[in-house]
Subunit: 281 residues, 2 copies
């Protein structure tokens, strides 16, 4: 695996592969890799000749009171995991080259960024769409893979890619869960044993809602109340949001109909976790 730290070298590799007729698959990450990330990389490898993974903890997607400084990092472990999936290039830029002092440019997606995580993290998605645009220009991928765990991000990236005519195919990989149903996340490492136990309620409440829908429940108010009640019973939880939205606009809906997303964000202790289920009826 080659490690590339500069933009010009990354672009040079990308141009070289493209001139050879090779396709480039790309998985952008913030590191501290887990099986969820690795599943996206394996998916990328089935769709492209060369796999590039970036590790960059992007400061512009963190709010002022969020966990930028404490976000977990373990580059040596990440490198071993990348070798295990036969990653070709690890792109490892730093803040000085990504955001020099004269930096002024941002990419924004309207509407889709306003609900759900956009409400409590107002500049988060602007940071995400900006860094993904920058990384696409560095890596020049044919295919990029993002996780369904970040459902809103996935929809926003698809919208941005189409709107800006980026010649990149966006593929969304399924959520990977621990044996007890907890969605894999780098932030799970923050949880105390008691919090880790309570964290199971996110996927459990989504499961319960899906069962109710299978039995005919269509009122989103009823379903949301069911989920909120389950989560509130756990001592370490504080709900940020529980929402049921249509997937084109991410606007709240009153009835389960067509394709909807049940999305939730919950603080477990001080750790903010998200989970979701995509429903088609």
């Amino acid at each position: 695996m080659t490690i590339i730290e500069t933009i010009s070298e990354m672009q040079h590799y990308a141009d070289h592969w493209r001139q050879q007729g090779k396709t480039i698959g790309f998985v952008p990450t913030m590191g501290y890799l887990h099986e969820g990330h690795l599943s996206l990389m394996r998916l990328a490898k089935t769709r492209a000749d060369v796999l590039v993974v970036s590790i960059y903890v992007n400061p512009t997607q963190f709010g002022a009171n969020e966990d930028l400084d404490t976000y977990p990092r373990d580059l040596a472990r990440d490198q071993r995991l990348l070798e295990s999936v036969e990653c070709d290039v690890l792109f490892l830029p730093n803040d000085a080259i990504m955001y020099p002092p004269e930096y002024r440019t941002y990419v924004t997606v309207e509407e889709l960024t306003e609900n759900l995580c956009g409400t409590s993290r107002p500049r988060h998605f602007r940071g995400v769409t900006t860094i993904v645009t920058k990384l696409f220009h560095c890596v020049k991928p044919h295919v990029a893979v993002f996780g369904q765990k970040d459902a809103q991000q996935a929809l926003i990236i698809k919208r941005m890619t189409a709107d800006l005519n980026m010649d990149v195919e966006i593929i969304i990989g399924e959520i990977v869960r621990e044996a007890d149903g907890v969605a894999m996340s780098s932030r799970n490492v923050y949880l105390s044993p008691a919090e880790r136990e309570d964290a199971r309620v996110l996927s459990q409440s989504l499961q319960k809602a899906q069962e109710a829908i299978a039995q005919g429940e269509r009122s989103t108010a009823t379903l949301i109340e069911m989920i909120r009640t389950m989560i509130a019973q756990k001592p370490t939880t504080t709900i940020d949001y529980v929402s049921i939205v249509e997937t084109k606009t991410l606007h709240d809906v009153a009835q389960i109909e067509g394709e909807v997303l049940i999305a939730l964000a919950v603080f477990v202790g001080k750790t903010r976790l998200i989970d979701n289920a995509l429903i088609r009826v």
Copy 2:
């Protein structure tokens, strides 16, 4: 000259040239071409194997009360002029493919877009940076050429390209003027004979200011007053702004020092014209 109307076909051509090792030069325009545009195309041809020119009157860079509907168009004449400079491809997208109903994404450059034309045209540069990003993703140029006539736009495009790590070299071509000094512009066609006569005062006042600087004048307040007085003497003129700014941030400066831009926007009748001079002392 090949005319391409769809994004996928344009990208296909670009990929094909790139795989052959050919370099792509690009000049984006809104059509109604004049010698200023053609000079940019000739410059692009000295720097690339293939020349692509786009003609697209981009609605997102026009304000609600501006001249989107009346912007001059003459595609047959433009095609003849493009043939005369041996343009290889005319990219001719339309509103339906550039801004479909679900469109939501914008590229913004902060700070550089706030002064000068940004004050009276608040969303103009957001439209420009967004369409240029889109066109770059369609045409995939190695080199793109913009005119110094739109000095603020040139600086903003350079900033955006660097910030977003676009692998495109930005070249700025000199202002081309009519025999009497008036900067070439598609909008000059709007001018009545009396207005066309008064329009000469833009370049004349810039010339006068440069002579004063050559003779030692360093106060921008004095120079701006000199320019404003000259322009106000013409009956059909209304000044939008006369500013002297430093070129890194486009902030106003009190003294002529290092590299500064004298920029002005003046309504001549109902037609808004711009002109500028780059000064190094």
